[in-house]
C-alpha cells in the first residue's frame, strides 16, 4: 500500500476528511485496507479512553478528605504564648476600659475594612492541585484552554481564594423539638459531637477574584425571605431513582448554615 493511501486511511479513521473525500476513500477500500482502517479506529478509541483517564486514580474529594483527616486543626496561638501574653493583654484591657469610659458614651459604630485582602492568606499551608474542590475535574485533557460559548458565560480567571472549613470549636446547645431526624444531627448544633466535615478550596494567588454570578442579584425567586419551604439534601441516594434523599425542615429548626 502506498504511503499516501495509508495517510488517507489515518485521516479517515480520525474523522479528519471531508464527507465527500471520506466517501471516496471508503469506496476504494480493499480488504487489507479495511483491516488497517479498523486498527486505526481502534487506536483512536484507545487514545480517547486514555484521554478520559484521570491524572491520578485518586479523586479530588478523596484527596481532600485524606488531607483533612490528617488533622487540619484551627490554630491555637495563645496556647503556647498564653503565659507571656496574658499580663500584656490584661494591661491592654485595663487601658481599653479607661479609654472607653472617657468617650461620650454613645453607641459606637466601628467600621473595619478587609481591604488589602490577600488571597494567599486563605490557606497558607495547603496546596492542592489547581482544581476547584467541589468541581471535580475528571478529564485531564480538559485543562487545555478552549474557546467556549455560552450565553452570559464569562471566562473567569483561575480559582483564586480558598479557606478551610473547619469545625466550630465551641458547641452550642440549641433546643430542638423531640422529633429530630438523626440525619439532621450532622447539620444541627444540638448534638454533642463536634462536626467533622471540612471542605477546602485550592488557592491560586496569582489571579484576582472571579466574578461568579453577576446576574444573580435580581432573581425574583431569591428576593423575599418569607414563606419558603426548606429542605436538607443528604448524601444518601435513593436506590431506585438514584436521587439524593431530601428531608423537609421546619423553618423554626435551627441548623448550621455556611456561607
Amino acid at each position: 500500500m502506498k504511503r499516501r493511501d495509508e495517510d488517507q486511511l489515518i485521516h479517515l479513521a480520525f474523522g479528519e476528511l471531508a464527507a465527500d473525500e471520506a466517501a471516496r476513500v471508503e469506496a476504494a477500500l480493499t480488504p487489507d485496507s479495511v483491516q488497517l482502517l479498523d486498527g486505526y479506529r481502534s487506536l483512536k478509541n484507545d487514545l480517547k479512553l486514555l484521554n478520559a483517564a484521570p491524572a491520578a486514580s485518586i479523586g479530588t474529594e478523596r484527596l481532600r478528605e485524606a488531607i483533612l483527616r490528617q488533622g487540619l486543626k484551627r490554630k491555637a496561638p495563645l496556647a503556647r504564648w498564653g503565659l507571656v501574653l496574658a499580663p500584656c493583654l490584661s494591661a491592654l484591657l485595663v487601658l481599653a476600659f479607661f479609654s472607653a469610659q472617657s468617650n461620650n458614651g454613645s453607641s459606637t459604630t466601628v467600621v473595619t475594612e478587609s481591604g488589602g485582602f490577600d488571597p494567599t492568606m486563605f490557606l497558607p499551608a495547603m496546596r492542592q492541585p489547581a482544581l476547584h474542590p467541589e468541581t471535580e475535574i475528571t478529564n485531564a485533557s480538559e485543562a487545555v484552554r478552549e474557546d467556549v460559548a455560552f450565553p452570559q458565560a464569562e471566562s473567569p480567571k483561575p480559582v483564586t481564594q480558598a479557606f478551610v472549613v473547619s469545625a466550630p470549636k465551641r458547641i452550642r446547645r440549641v433546643h430542638l423539638s423531640p422529633t429530630v431526624d438523626p440525619r439532621l444531627l450532622a447539620l444541627d448544633v444540638s448534638h454533642d459531637s463536634s462536626p467533622t466535615e471540612q471542605t477546602s478550596q485550592e488557592p491560586d494567588p496569582s489571579a484576582p477574584p472571579v466574578s461568579a454570578t453577576p446576574f444573580a442579584a435580581d432573581d425574583p425567586s431569591l428576593a423575599t425571605p418569607d414563606g419558603r419551604d426548606i429542605i436538607v439534601v443528604h448524601d444518601a441516594q435513593d436506590r431506585v431513582t438514584g436521587a439524593q434523599q431530601a428531608t423537609e425542615v421546619d423553618p423554626t429548626t435551627n441548623v448550621v448554615v455556611g456561607g
Binding site: 480517547k48 478520559a52 483517564a53 466601628v110 473595619t112 478587609s114 481591604g115 492568606m121 486563605f122 476547584h132 467541589e134 471535580e136 475535574i137 475528571t138 478529564n139 485543562a143 460559548a149 455560552f150 452570559q152 458565560a153 464569562e154 480559582v159 480558598a162 479557606f163 472549613v165 469545625a167 466550630p168 430542638l176 423539638s177 422529633t179 431526624d181 448544633v189 466574578s211 461568579a212 454570578t213 444573580a216 432573581d219 425574583p220 425567586s221 431569591l222 425571605p225 419558603r228 419551604d229 436538607v232 431506585v240 431513582t241 438514584g242 436521587a243 439524593q244 431530601a246 428531608t247 423537609e248 421546619d250 423553618p251 423554626t252 435551627n254 441548623v255 448550621v256 448554615v257 456561607g259
Partner: protein, 334 residues
Amino acid sequence: MLSLAVSIVLCQAASSKLDDAVLAPAWAKIQASVVVVMKGESRRGTAALIDAQGYFITGRSVLAGNGALEGLFADGTRITLFPVASDAPTQLALLRTYDRIGDRHAVPLYRLPLGEVVDATHPKILIAALADGPTGAQLVNTRTLALVGNGHEVINVNEIHFDGRPGRVAGAPVFTLEGSLVGVLSAMLEHKPRVGAAFEGGAPRQNIPRPSFAGQPAAPSQGDSVLYSPGFVVMQRVITGFLTPEHAVVRPAIGVFCQDSPESGALVDAVLDDSPADLAGIKEGDVIISIDGAPIRKAFDFGRTMLRQTVGSTISISARRHGRVLDFKVRVGM
C-alpha cells in the same frame, strides 16, 4: 444494533407516555439535544446539550467512574462521551463529546419571567427526559431553599412533581414545553414528618391540582413524587463555571457558619481562619443582623443572602456584639 434497540425502547416509551398533544410537540423540539447515556448495555441516564462544542450536562449519578460513556440520540446517532467535571453540592456533571454532532442546538436555560408565579395551583407543565423515555412533570415551586454539601451551603431549588414513583430520574434534564432547560433532577423528597413541631403529620403530598392533557380530565393522583433540581441562579452559576476553560464553579462565601440567634439575627458560630470574615474582624458570637441593609433574621436569611452575592464584591455587614452594633466591610470570597 444496540442503537436500534435503544431507539426502539425510546420510541416505545415515548409513544406510551407521550400520547398527548401537549407533550409530544415539546419532545420533538428537544429530542435532538438529548442523549441517553449508556455504559455498555446499561442506560445510566440522560444528558442535555448545553454548548454546541459538544458539552452536555447531567447528574453525577449518571457517571460510571471516570471512564468513557456512550451517548445515543433519539435518531440513532451514537457518540462517545467523556466525563469532564462534576459539582458536588449540586450533583451536576459535565460530559463532552469530540464526535460530530451535526447542527444540534444547545438548549437555553429557563428563567421564570419576572412577575410570573408558579405554585401548586398554578403549576408549569414540564417534560423530563428520563432514561426510559420522556414523561410529563409539574413545576410547582421555585422558591424552595435547600441546604447542601459539606459547606452547608444554601441554594435555591425547583420543586418538581411526578405522578407516582418514577424510575431512575437522577440526572435527568427537565425542560419547559418550549424547550428550555429548567434543571437537572438531583434530589427526591422523603415522605417523612418534618423535623420540628410545626408539622407533625408527615403525609405524602397528594391530590395536587393538575391541568388536563389533551382535553382529558385529570386523574386523581395516587401520591406524587417530589423531586428537586437546582434553581435558575445555581444552574446558571454551575453551567457558567463548567464552560470556563477550568470547568470550575465558584461560589460566593465569606467563611462563617451561622445558626439562628435566640433573638433575631444569624449567630456566628465559627469564623474560618484567614477567611474574608476573619480578615474583616467578624468574630464568633457576633450576631449578623443585616447585609447591605437587608435584614437578617435567621441563619437561612444569611445563606439566602449570600447566594445572591458576587465573588469579589464588597458587602456591608452589620452585627451585634455585646449590645453594640458594628459595621464591617467584607470582600466576598469563594
